[in-house]
Amino acid sequence: MTAPLPTLERLPRGALTLFRIRALLRMGIYGAITFAVALGLSFAGNERWPFLLPCAVVLGLSVLTAWYPQRAHERWGWALRDHDLVISHGVLLQEVVSIPAGRIQHVDVHQGPIERSLGLARLQIYTAAGSGADGEIPGLARETADALRERLVRREADDVV
């Protein structure tokens, strides 16, 4: 009953860069939004305090940015075994997913502009369970993602659900 989990493959170094860039972008976007709000408030007659708002948001998010991507990168892992694909991730909400072989309906490989510049790709795995992608691995090296996709879809899917 107590089969230990397999040793998980880690994401490449590039993925950490990807997570950091994303965190920075998020910080920039939220900062800009709160700055716009503050600008609106100051035009509406408030003196100086509204600008504390974006400062607080950026400060909070920069602490998160320093810590979170590293942790997330440590927690991401995957393993392809004979009978299933195991994906483990999550910093606050930790999750380990096992998708049995032959249950995979289709696999998507995504590449956004940042991912493309870093030579990375995101793999999304769909089963018949219905609600969106059941498994996702971001920040895989493009070759790894392609090879993994090839091996996942090469397995003969069940004819029915």
Binding site: A3, P4, H83, A101, R103, G130, A141
Partner: protein, 507 residues
């Protein structure tokens, strides 16, 4: 896939079949109902705003959009034709823009034959063919003659080389094993105990209305006419009687709904299929292939347990939407006496063991439930005491009730893994026992939120096509090993991995 004669015909030779000419007439009412439901949200404010002389034009616009939608729907029904080519059902509709839909017979999860009231008058039936792909019925043919429907379903079954399982209205029933039948008394009990949270909210609102009416209109009249009522204390008594009468009325409505839905319910076993027929005005017949059953749920709320029955929901991979699990289930057996339950479950899931000894939830889960119960009670009772003083303090009674409930919920949940099945039992007030075939598991995941990490517990969620079930709390290590163990291992049919390129991370 198939060597049946029908499969050998080339696509050009198979003639298209049209729906009955009366089909748009039969579809008029259901389609208007459907569109009406969509526009209800938009129409109600418009209706109320009209009093201020505001947007009557808006009402006209919405009404004309609704009429256009109805016309489009009727046009689609009028131009629909279908045929079975090879192993596929092809449905075509439209004249200018032609849409064709192909449904593979092997992928059909269940078929449903409906006969709404208007269709019954016109002598027609509706056929729904469901696959695992989406929220609405994939093939919905409104307005077939019973003979055409029979021919269509037989053609689909011939492709799968199966015998007759569908029985149309008016057919003589062959020798089949009846698994369950519902009688009127049972259905009324089912309806009366089906008071969900939404129904309760409506009931509370209705009670409020009743009390208002009673005090404003009824009470002065009664006091003027009946001397006895003017005596002190009698007002309270009559208010209570009125409230109880209102509640009883609501129960009757709920019971009537159950009778409408399940009148003459009959579940039979045809060998390969399960077929359920029932309904007073709209007669509904669902046929589920036994091999397609994904999940069986036993629903036994406390009230039903006390009355000695429960209901059973059978789900296939057809994806249905609905708030209540009863709406989502493809096949629902409303009334099953507790004594008959194990036998019926065995009919659905033959692998079910006779004696089930459940493993309990993690002890820490009780602590968690207790802390939540205390938190929730304080959150409700403290403001209540603050605002309403002594009367508000009654809300502290919630605390022991919640603690009691938490213990019961924890005590009576359990899970069991057998060779072929996963059985999960949850809840005391609303007990649900879910049976999932291990070979049908789509994915299994172990989850641990930040609070759960504090208690050292985690939960396991199992996804099957069209549904999911969450196991009671276990330790994080056990959760991780469970997701590895639960999905049944089948013989691998793919090429050995050694022949494929090795995937190692670069570096």
């Amino acid at each position: 896939m198939s060597s049946e004669p029908v499969a050998l015909a080339s696509p050009e030779e198979v003639p298209w079949k049209k729906l009955s000419p009366k089909a748009p007439l039969a579809a008029l009412l259901p389609l208007s109902g459907m569109i009406g439901r969509i526009f209800l949200g938009a129409l109600l404010p418009t209706f109320f705003a009209r009093e201020q002389g505001l947007p009557i034009i808006l009402l006209v616009i919405v009404a004309s959009v609704a009429v256009l939608m109805l016309a489009a729907g009727l046009y689609e029904v009028a131009t629909t034709s279908y045929r079975v080519v090879g192993a596929q059902l092809e449905i075509r509709s439209g004249i200018f823009t032609r849409t064709s839909r192909f449904i593979e017979a092997a992928r059909v999860q269940n078929t449903e034959v409906l006969q709404p009231f208007v269709s019954k008058l016109l002598g027609l039936v509706e056929v729904k063919v469901e696959t695992a792909s989406g929220g609405k019925a994939d093939g919905h043919l409104r307005g077939l003659t019973p003979e055409d429907a029979q021919a269509l379903i037989h053609a689909l079954q011939a492709v799968r080389r199966e015998g007759a399982a569908v029985l149309l209205p008016g057919d003589a029933a062959p020798e089949e094993r009846v698994l369950s039948e519902a009688r009127l008394g049972g259905l009324l009990l089912y309806g009366a105990t089906a008071l969900g949270l939404g129904v309760l909210a409506v009931a509370m609102g209705a009670m409020h209305e009743i009390a208002e009416t009673f005090h404003k209109l009824l009470l002065p009249w009664m006091e003027a006419h009946w001397e006895a009522l003017a005596a002190p204390g009698m007002v309270w008594l009559s208010a209570t009687v009125a409230a109880i009468a209102g509640l009883f009325g609501l129960w009757l409505v709920s019971g009537a709904r159950a009778v409408l839905q399940f009148h003459g319910f009959r579940l039979v076993d045809t060998g390969t299929h399960l077929r359920a027929v029932g309904g007073l005005i709209t007669r509904r017949q669902v046929t589920v292939r036994r091999a397609r059953i994904q999940q069986v749920v036993l629903d036994e709320p406390l009230l039903r347990r006390a009355l000695g029955f429960g209901s059973v929901e059978v789900e296939t991979a057809g994806v249905r939407t609905g708030r209540q699990s009863e709406d989502r289930a493809e096949l629902l057996v409303p009334v099953v006496p507790t004594a008959r339950m194990p036998e019926l479950l065995k009919d659905f899931v033959p692998e079910l063991p006779d004696a089930m000894s459940f493993q309990g939830a993690h002890p820490k889960a009780l602590l968690r439930a207790r802390i939540r119960a205390v938190g929730l009670s304080v959150l409700v009772a403290a403001p209540a005491t603050w605002f309403w003083g002594a009367w508000g303090a009654v809300a502290w009674l919630l605390l022991p009730a919640q603690l009691f409930g938490a213990w019961f919920d924890w005590r009576f949940q359990g899970w069991l893994v057998t060779e072929a099945l996963v059985v999960v039992r949850q809840g005391f007030w609303r007990r649900r026992t879910t049976v999932v075939q291990r070979s049908r598991i789509q994915s299994a995941r172990a989850r641990q939120g930040p609070l759960e990490r504090g208690y050292g517990v985690a939960h396991v969620r199992i996804d099957v096509a069209g549904s999911h079930v969450i196991l009671p709390s276990v330790s994080w290590a056990e959760a991780q090993s469970l997701i590895d163990v639960l999905p049944a291992r089948r013989p691998t049919r793919h090429a050995p991995l050694a022949t494929l390129p090795d995937v190692r991370l670069p570096g």
